[in-house]
Amino acid sequence: MSAARLDRRDVVARILAERGDTLVVTGLGSTTWDAAAAGDHRNNFYLWGGMGGAAMVGLGLANAQPGRRVLVITGDGEMLMGLGALATIGTAAPANLAVAVVDNERYGETGMQETHTAHGVDLAAVAAGAGFAAAATLRTMDEVEAWIPRLLGGPGPLFAAVKVGIEPAPMALPLRDGAAIRARFRDAVLGGRAEE
């Protein structure tokens, strides 16, 4: 019997507790709720749609803001839907981008059907093969703790898949109006330039 799996909310809250001025992009859908549960933040861009796009939103943002840290927090199903993004990011090699996949091996929003990661697909191996500077699968909080400084400051692109359990988490919904989310985020990042 293997050790109990990590709780997704604990993992995301622990990572974000150290965020500083990191810019965070979350994916549809559970990781958007996880980030909201950890505390709303003006530097969060919550995706409520565009499944498969979170990592690429992160790349465009990292390219635009090379002096800032960008962390994408998304799910295994969302990452699998845009797997080509790992090849694109590995090739583009942004030093300020990290991707953390909260991997419960399930499609959490559609009935907890198993994803490919439940059947042997190793996302960290894909990221490593795509040329990420480092990639790992994390299973314990000690491993997560050891990776937090890398995710928030190590030379990227970095990738971590954090294996978590499937226990339901309390609902926590952030802002839902996309125009409001983007306006708030741009104001936080760009200040006076936000209205260009």
Binding site: L23, G49, G53, G60, N63, G84, T88, A179
Partner: protein
């Protein structure tokens, strides 16, 4: 404009328009019609050109670019448009400027029947997804069309696609 008027020079004129519009991030899936423009973007130190594995990645990336204060452009062939449609939900809901330059297949002089269905669907599918479409079939008008589309995208915060006709891009000579 004289500089827009040559059949061969339109990619250079478009490159100039992109620079004037302040485009910094360029995402593309390799395409023969955009070959020269892609080369120019790669060679320009003020631009960051990134190759994609699929066109839909570019819609998401340009959302991130604009969130971070950069303007960008997505270069693709019409066959890639179908892949982008779900991502249009992001740019519509968040009112993100999106400039797409699409070289057409499946129309003027096409020899590959498999290109025809997506070529015919390109404009209606984009419009159904809320993207404003400017089609241009005259090489002399490509640059001015891109200029207008860039204004609509970046100043009016809208998704806009310029469809560059196969008559402009040329068609493959299947006999050689």
């Amino acid at each position: 404009m004289n500089r827009d008027s040559s059949m061969e020079d339109w990619p250079d004129a478009v490159f100039g328009v992109l620079g004037e519009a302040g485009v910094r991030q360029v995402y593309y899936v390799p395409d023969n019609g955009h070959r020269r423009l892609i080369e120019r973007c790669h060679a320009d130190n003020a631009m960051l050109a990134t190759r994609l594995t699929g066109e839909e990645e570019g819609v998401a990336a340009l959302t991130g670019a604009w969130l971070g204060g950069d303007r960008g452009v997505l270069l693709m062939q019409s066959s890639g448009v179908g892949k982008c449609i779900n991502m249009m939900g992001i740019v519509q809901e968040c009112r993100v400027p999106l400039l797409m330059l699409v070289t057409m297949r499946g129309q003027w002089g096409e020899f590959n029947p498999w290109q025809v269905p997506m070529g015919r669907a390109t404009a209606p599918v984009l419009e159904a997804a809320g993207v404003m479409v400017h089609a241009v079939d005259d090489a002399a008008r490509v640059a001015e069309t891109v200029r207008a589309a860039a204004r609509l995208a970046f100043d009016a915060y809208r998704p806009v696609a310029v469809l560059i006709g196969q008559r402009v891009v040329g068609f493959k000579d299947w006999t050689r």
